[in-house]
């Protein structure tokens, strides 16, 4: 009898004009938050990733979470601040806008941590 939640794994690739990735997101117990740091509440892309993986959506503007609990962070960043902050913290980061590394924190933005221009159809269940 197992009480472990059934998490699934997704591959997230860049969208048109996007950059970076693909990222593999696999929530685990204690690290299953799909962290939305977006205007207007939980972004539909964050909800979609949660629906596919079994992770939990979480609104970064409403509550606090430790980075260790975050499976992936979804942002709607126009290219300067949020694009760098989460990769700097080694959090997998998905930008819905097709940004490329830029801004003062661009040295932290690497293809193994960051993918951009992502649409729902760029998220694929792999397991």
């Amino acid at each position: 009898m197992s009480e472990e939640p059934q998490y699934k794994k997704v591959k997230i690739k860049k969208g048109p004009k996007g950059w970076g990735g693909p990222l593999v997101v696999h929530p685990k117990p204690g690290k299953d938050l799909i962290y939305s740091v977006t205007g207007g509440g939980i972004h539909p892309l964050a909800q979609h990733i949660a629906d596919l993986t079994g992770g939990k959506v979480f609104d970064g503007f409403k509550s606090k979470a430790a980075f260790e609990q975050i499976a992936v962070c979804v942002i709607d960043c126009g290219g300067t601040a949020r694009v760098g902050v989460y990769p700097m913290k080694k959090v997998l980061t998905v930008d819905i806008y097709p940004t490329s590394p830029s801004g003062p924190l661009m040295r932290f933005i690497t293809a193994d941590l960051f993918v951009s221009g992502v649409r729902k159809e760029d998220v694929e269940l792999i397991e």
Binding site: G39, G78, G79, T80, A81, R82, T99, S102, P104, L105
Partner: protein, 123 residues
């Protein structure tokens, strides 16, 4: 014409890592609901409402200084209205480099302190 106040706020907190952006000619502002990891890099303020969209030709005013707004990226107004989030680049460009940018005159950045008020004025 009487200027229209499109946005106004008071600065309530300055993150310890704001200089990372200041030295690149950028001010990053966020409203008070921003998560801690963004507050580290940001100037936090109590602004709530964007009354009208910001446009080129408006002014960013802080204390006694005024900076002419030259370009407004396509997501800058939704950032400001939803999150109190503003990326101000003091680069003199009339085309934004990134969709979140608000570009103003290339002049030395104002010195920011807690308690200062800022506004965006249009006509």
């Amino acid at each position: 014409m009487t200027p229209v106040v499109k946005y106004q706020a008071q600065i309530t907190q300055i993150g310890p890592l704001v200089d990372e952006f200041v030295s690149a000619g950028v001010l990053v502002l966020f409203g008070e609901d921003a998560p801690e990891e963004l507050k580290e890099f940001s100037i936090i303020h109590d602004g709530k409402h964007l009354d009208q969209d910001v446009k080129p030709g408006d002014w960013f005013c802080i204390e006694d200084e005024k900076f002419h707004i030259l370009a407004v990226g396509e997501v800058a107004n939704s950032n400001l209205g939803n999150l109190g989030h503003l990326i101000l680049k003091f680069n003199g460009l009339d085309t934004p480099e990134m969709p979140g940018d608000v570009c103003v005159e290339a002049r030395p950045l104002p010195t920011i302190q807690t308690g200062m008020r800022f506004s965006i004025l249009g006509e």
